[in-house]
Symmetry: C2
Subunit: 201 residues, 2 copies
DNA sequence: GTCTATACTCTGATAGAC
DNA sequence: GTCTATCAGAGTATAGAC
């Protein structure tokens, strides 16, 4: 559909996307239904399809920009900065994303688990290129002896795994911690300690 | 249904479970269809339902024992052994599971991402109890100065996150590594280095 | 035990009144 | 713009022949 023009259109458009994010991030594309999304949005199913051409179109809209949002913290890593501070900053930004946008994280996780049927190109081209570029920076820092020598790509994987875990497995994390405390401050402290030790040459 | 009695029954039973594992681990419970499972199994849909009462029954059968398989490597951690060796052994066993049983890992991931609708009790009771028990051991080791002081539960989370990442995000891992090399030997080396440094007091 | 045929429900999408 | 009504196809499950 064309861009929303009125305030009401813009609001409904956004309401639908938020509801769709809820449902798609929980059940994946195939497992989600327009009925569920309409329910959550508080709109009728035909009304949904007045704003979006199809179920696919809603999902595609959610994916658009998701990878960019997800990779922006890595893009910000500055080759001129202090290596440890840059990497710890990246970890912190990524953990903030997991805390503030857990549904987006789970949507992404669902898509990758399924083999990225609707993100193939973005993963194999954009993501791979960015990681390759940043791996060069990491290797330079290692060559200069400013951080410990490690496989640079697996180092990036470890940041992804450790931060996204708190969004994707949120249910399990909270069940195990059991005390109702917010896991994220603890996670922030733990991950800072972990990466500080790991990166020390 | 009752336990399979003949060799043919046992074989078909197993064929169906393997096919269902393929499909459920990729698409989640709701996203999977009996048609897909029947296709993969090479059986007709009614034949599936001769062996299992329902789609739910197949899924339930897969979940039965899954959590145990997943937690066995943690159970094996021996309080009498050398702390670093015990923890590195746990990491290795968990990474071996991710390599050898990636579908089981993704099935589990799907279930947790959805809020564990069919595993609530197992997670909140069994899993939580086991982690609490092992956290005591870790804390003892820390008190004795034999490993670095860290939040014991987040330490366990970090092992889960770092190992399961290689199964659940296998598609992304291979896309980024790009060279067609097996990621697991590299992961094994990387994770051993990581945890050795992290655990050193 | 396995198949074809089919009942019945759910799901994505459209038509048309207001 | 939003609703009710509805269609066509997919989905789970069952009946009954062989």
């Amino acid at each position: 559909m064309t861009r929303p023009r009125t305030r009401i259109q813009a609001r409904n458009h956004e309401t639908i996307l938020q509801a769709a994010l809820d449902v798609f991030s929980t059940h994946g594309f195939r497992g989600a239904t327009l009925d569920q999304i309409a329910d959550v949005a508080g709109l009728s199913k035909p009304n949904l399809l007045y704003y979006f051409a199809s179920k696919d179109a809603i999902y595609a809209q959610l994916l658009t920009g998701l990878l960019d949002t997800w990779l922006d913290p890595l893009r910000e890593m500055n080759p001129e900065g202090d290596p440890v501070a840059e990497l710890l900053g990246y970890v912190r930004r990524k953990l903030d994303l997991a805390r503030d946008y857990p549904r987006e994280s789970r949507l992404f996780a669902n898509e990758i688990i399924q083999g990225a049927p609707r993100m193939q190109a973005a993963i194999t081209v954009d993501l791979t290129a960015l990681v390759a570029e940043k791996a060069v920076i990491l290797t330079t820092w290692m060559d200069q002896g400013r951080i410990a020598r490690l496989h640079p790509v697996h180092l990036i994987f470890s940041i992804w795994a450790l931060t996204q875990h708190y969004a994707d497995f949120d249910f399990q994390v909270r069940a195990v911690l059991a005390d109702g405390a917010d896991p994220f401050p603890q996670a922030q402290t733990f991950l800072e300690t972990l990466f500080r030790k790991l990166l020390t040459p």
